[in-house]
Amino acid sequence: MMGRSLVDLWHGFGVALLPGNLMWSFFGVLIGNLIGVLPGLGPISAISMLLPLTYALHPIPAILMLAGIFYGAQYGGAIGAILLNLPCHPPHAVTCLDGYPLTQQGRSGTALGITMLCSFFAASVGIIVMIIASPLLVAISFRFGPPEIFSIMLLGLLAGATMSRGSPLKGVAMVVVGLLLGVAGTDVLTGTQRFTFGITDLDDGVELVALALGLFGVAEFLRSVNRMDQIAKPVRMRMRDMRPSRAELRQAFPAMLRGTGIGVLFGAIPGTGPTITTFLAYALEHKLARHPERFGHGAIEGVAAPEAASHSKTQVDFIPTMSLGIPGDPVMALILGALMIQGIQPGPQLITEHADLFWGLIASFWIGNALLMVLNVPLIGVWVKLLQVPYRFLYPSAVFFIAVGVYSTQNNLFEVWEVLAFGLAGAVFVALDFPVAPILLGFVLGPLVEDNFRRALLLSGGNMAVFLQHPISAGFIGASALLVAARLFFWVRGLRRGTPDAMTALLPEVPPG
């Protein structure tokens, strides 16, 4: 099976290196990197703003570009975290802890260089895991019927809801809100208009881009306007500063390996967000370190491990997204949505029917990550300049980009009202300490969950036990029950003792998402 994969991958390189595809991939990495560097804008905003642009493209260049935007923005976010202590994207919050002290010591170049090495290494490992694991997963997932798909989605949704900071109940509530939003529109089976309240613009359902940009764009501006302290200290940066010394490399290497391992492990579990992964990687380094007191004062390992974890998770996350149609986090949910807009249904048949797309995507990861390295060495000076754009100029411009971006999804100004409504709702949820990321997860999976739930019960003649009679499905249901029980146990125990529970204690204060 491996041999087959390697042949397919070789073919994939051929696809990814076609001049047209390569150009879009490069464009995606560049734009993603540019947007990711800007304070307050992460991969979700970057992807959703540029999503309408891909409607005009063929599926392959479109998805290559979106993936490029994604890892470009992810890397760009690390630059902001290290140089300015600004976590533009929650997973980078932990990178700030040691990255910024390194900058204060004048070693920002080293930190960025290590980040770059780690991201390339971790992504490469992630890609190798993808090559080995996806054919296996496909072989298994061909035996998936509606009950199995429903159960694994349930597991993914529950993991997405409960594996975040704070009350698991709030996460569950947000997932259900997302599922309900996914229901809105015309019911496929009966043609009934659900939750449209007579507004014909809602017949096709809620617009994914409007929801994402409302929750992660407008809501974020509402939260941080006049509250963002920007320390615009001019940072001098030269290319040769970015080369870490041999001693620093030796220090970072084991941390990078461990971080990569954690990322691979968590990437394979659907629903576990990137933030929790990076925090666990950091916590592990802290535990294992001979001198844990160095952490928080510029320990190289504290930058290397979380960055490696987030990048390897990113790659591995594509496996459940593409082969099962189950996104691991909101960004994957967006990419899944983009695939569906292109008329490509993710699932086990994707890898066989759209082999050029799947393997082209894998090959383009490698090429894209190499491009990222090549791009960032000469452009780091430009990014540093961009970082100093004051927030008071940045967010009004972003408001315009969001408005024009959602308009162009359907050429309909109604979408602008939608983005405003979701922005306000998102700001209220965030103010009440609800995590908003599960909404997006629930929204994308909602229609699939309902469809498979209906079909499973139709096939079983209305017998609910069908989910437990199929062994694979029963396994997922069992895992879901275990997850909920364990999470509730730790949470209640934490409440009793009056201390934050283990998960909360692990996670320092981060922006929601």
Partner: protein, 151 residues
């Protein structure tokens, strides 16, 4: 006596209301049977789950969860109103005035939300973004919204 966790109280209440509202609305659609589910089945179930979750959050807040004393931020009305007005103005002016006025208005209004921005600075920023819009969205991307229109 425990202190009520205010955020959880309000949040739980909000979820309870949202859930009940969704369930009520879904009860108008055909329910069907477990074997042949109508369009109302799934949303009704979701609405009830949401309401129950909201109730649980609400009850939890009455028990006075260990309230992590977070610094309460002062409301930021100026920023909030200006950003919302900026987004809304794009929709309104885009409908009645066209792309360029809508762009200018949305950036200008949103920029006024920041206390450090003067009207002049906001105007300059809005003018620059209008130019960007003209080149990128109208000239390069051929957006369908006309540059100007009357009524």
């Amino acid at each position: 006596m425990h202190r009520i966790n205010r955020k959880d109280f309000l949040g739980g209440g909000l979820m309870l209301l949202l859930g009940l509202g969704a369930a009520f609305q879904a009860s108008h659609y055909e329910f069907g049977t477990l074997r042949r589910m109508g369009p109302g089945y799934f949303p009704l179930a979701l609405g009830l789950i949401l309401a129950l979750t909201g109730l649980a959050i609400l009850l939890g807040s009455l028990r006075g969860a260990a309230a992590v004393a977070a610094a309460r931020l002062a409301p930021e009305w100026r920023g909030w109103i200006c950003i919302c007005a900026g987004v809304a103005s794009f929709a309104v002016i885009g409908r009645w005035g066209g792309l360029l006025p809508a762009t200018f208005a949305s950036v200008f209004l949103a920029a006024l939300g920041d206390r450090k921005n003067t009207p002049v600075a906001a105007g300059v920023l809005a003018a620059v973004m209008t130019l960007v819009c003209l080149v990128v969205f109208w000239w390069l991307l051929k957006i369908e919204l006309p540059l100007f229109r009357w009524g």
